[in-house]
């Protein structure tokens, strides 16, 4: 136990020190090579170190002013990402996340903690053939569109759509086989994963709060150019069970992407049949990211969500996404809704993210 505590303390120290080191690199004059052997990622974010090691990360500050609750300001999370490609066919990827570092709540004051360190993703990737790759480890469950992005700086709005939260396990652990091919202008993506959720079923596991249990699933998507647009449609299926249950829940879904005239239109429809019967959870969202100027997008989103208990809700999100330089993302959203749900909070939200 003492060793675990010590490891967590060291991770926290490393997680805080790495952003500072990377920020120094980010603040350096723009150049392909910063120092011999170290260069900036072509995207302007992240550093490429000797030995094909890529490191990057981000920090996000969030302000939430819900219509019915106190305003909060928080240092939402610090993330560190690293990818190492020792060979052309083999790579290792890891993402460490430090969250809940600092929060100020109206009328309640300041809350600080040492933060919680979480390994968001950790996997080895082998390119078996040019089209087929295998990831072994922990990945974001490849279900739909939103869950695999899932990072504050890169999503169009501050909060995710309700239907993408807690409807299926966020992470999959085990094997993830990915097939990608373009044939006669059609792009195909197929992925299969299993056998575990965030935590694979360990009978002696102590922490009951973690998502643990078995899971098997897959996604198939096809896309192609349609005149001036590009469109892709995906089909999703996941079967999962909690470690304390032998009953299996099923989540099915469709996802859609359309790129046209600078717009990015995305949508997801998800339907979950709970383990052992009972009321299904289902919902959808349809979102349009509208180009205003090259660095500024307006965002409109419609959501419908029916939770496992209580009445359903609809919501409309109006927002702005501004990325004045590659390292900075500012977002401001207002969520209108017919009612407040745990994962559908009406009111104002804004965030500032720094990528390094």
């Amino acid at each position: 136990m003492r060793i675990v505590m010590e490891l967590r303390r060291r991770w926290r120290t490393a997680a805080l020190a790495m952003p500072l080191a990377l920020l120094v690199g980010a603040a350096a004059p723009a150049a392909d090579t910063l120092v011999p052997g170290v260069s900036r990622d072509p995207s302007g974010v992240g550093l490429i170190l000797p030995g094909n090691l890529w490191v990057s990360g981000d920090v996000t500050l969030t302000v939430e002013a819900p219509e019915t609750q106190a305003t909060t300001f928080e240092l939402d999370d610090v993330s560190l990402l690293a990818r190492w490609e020792p060979y052309s066919r083999l790579a290792f990827f890891g993402e460490l996340r430090l969250e809940n570092l600092f929060e100020v709540t109206e009328h309640e004051g300041v809350f600080t903690s040492g933060g919680e360190v979480e390994i968001e993703r950790l996997y080895a990737e082998a390119l078996l053939t040019p089209e087929l790759s295998l990831r072994v480890g922990k990945v974001f469950t490849p279900f739909g569109l939103w869950n695999v992005i899932s990072r504050a700086p890169l999503t169009w709005t501050v909060e995710e759509p309700a239907v993408t939260e807690n409807v299926f396990p966020k992470r999959a652990t085990g094997l993830n086989l990915i097939y990608q091919k373009t044939w006669r202008g059609w792009s195909f993506d197929a992925t299969g994963y299993g056998p575990g959720q965030n935590q694979i079923q360990f009978r002696d596991a102590e922490d009951e709060s973690l998502d643990s249990g078995l899971m098997f699933g897959g996604r198939f998507a096809a896309g192609r150019d349609l005149g001036p647009a590009y469109a892709a449609l995906g089909v999703n299926l996941a079967e999962f069970t909690r470690r304390d249950s032998r009953r299996w829940a099923t989540a099915t879904g469709l996802d859609l992407t359309v790129n046209a005239w600078g717009h990015e239109i995305t949508g997801e429809l998800t339907y979950r049949v709970p383990a052992g019967g009972g009321r299904a959870t289902h919902g959808l969202y349809l979102q349009d990211a509208i180009p205003i100027v090259p660095t500024l997008h307006g965002v409109l989103r419609f959501e419908y969500f029916e939770p496992p208990d209580g009445p359903d809700a609809t919501a409309q999100v109006v927002g702005l996404f501004w990325r004045p330089i590659p390292n900075v993302v500012l977002k401001a959203d207002y969520i209108f809704g017919t009612r407040r749900l745990e994962n559908l909070e009406t009111g104002f939200q804004a965030s500032f993210s720094l990528l390094f």
């Binding site: 995207s43 992240g46 052309s88 040019p130 990072r151 202008g185």
Partner: protein, 149 residues
């Protein structure tokens, strides 16, 4: 009679920027997919080119790393290549690259000129690029195919 018609066609085609000139202009504006002069890469299809430039395929069949090379996003050749091969303009792909960045996968490297692309390909046999056909430096690079308009 036939000679008269031929004369009319020739005059009209000159006045209207006739077929010979149109062919010449199309050739001058076309985009050539190129590799290094000493590269062993023999064939790349349009479908494969899309995979390579979206970084969905990152190794050649022999297992070596693919190095796709882009021209700057605001260049006319890049815009036409992106639309023709990737189905989207460079600015429409920013969200796509954000997602790949999140997995630690970088977009293709960008070189500023056609001359730089050919010079780089000459030294890197695993790289692939594209340049306007009239910019191909045949001492440094070899044309795999010309993109259909």
């Amino acid at each position: 009679m036939r000679a008269g018609l031929t004369a009319i066609v020739v005059v009209a085609s000159h006045l209207l920027g006739g077929p010979a000139q149109a062919v010449e202009r199309a050739h001058a504006d076309s985009i050539a997919v190129v590799i290094g002069a000493r590269s062993e890469i023999a064939e790349v299809t349009l479908d494969t080119l899309r995979e390579l430039y979206l970084r969905r395929r990152r190794v050649w069949p022999d297992g070596s790393r693919v190095i796709p090379v882009n021209l700057p996003a605001d260049s006319d050749a890049r815009q036409r290549f992106s639309k023709r091969v990737l189905g989207r303009l460079p600015q429409d792909l920013s969200a796509y690259w954000d997602r790949l960045y999140f997995d630690g996968i970088q977009p293709p490297v960008v070189l500023r000129t056609s001359e730089a692309v050919c010079a780089y390909l000459a030294t890197e046999p695993k790289a692939i690029g594209y340049v306007p056909s009239h910019d191909v430096d045949t001492r440094a690079c070899r044309v795999l195919f010309v993109l259909p308009e």
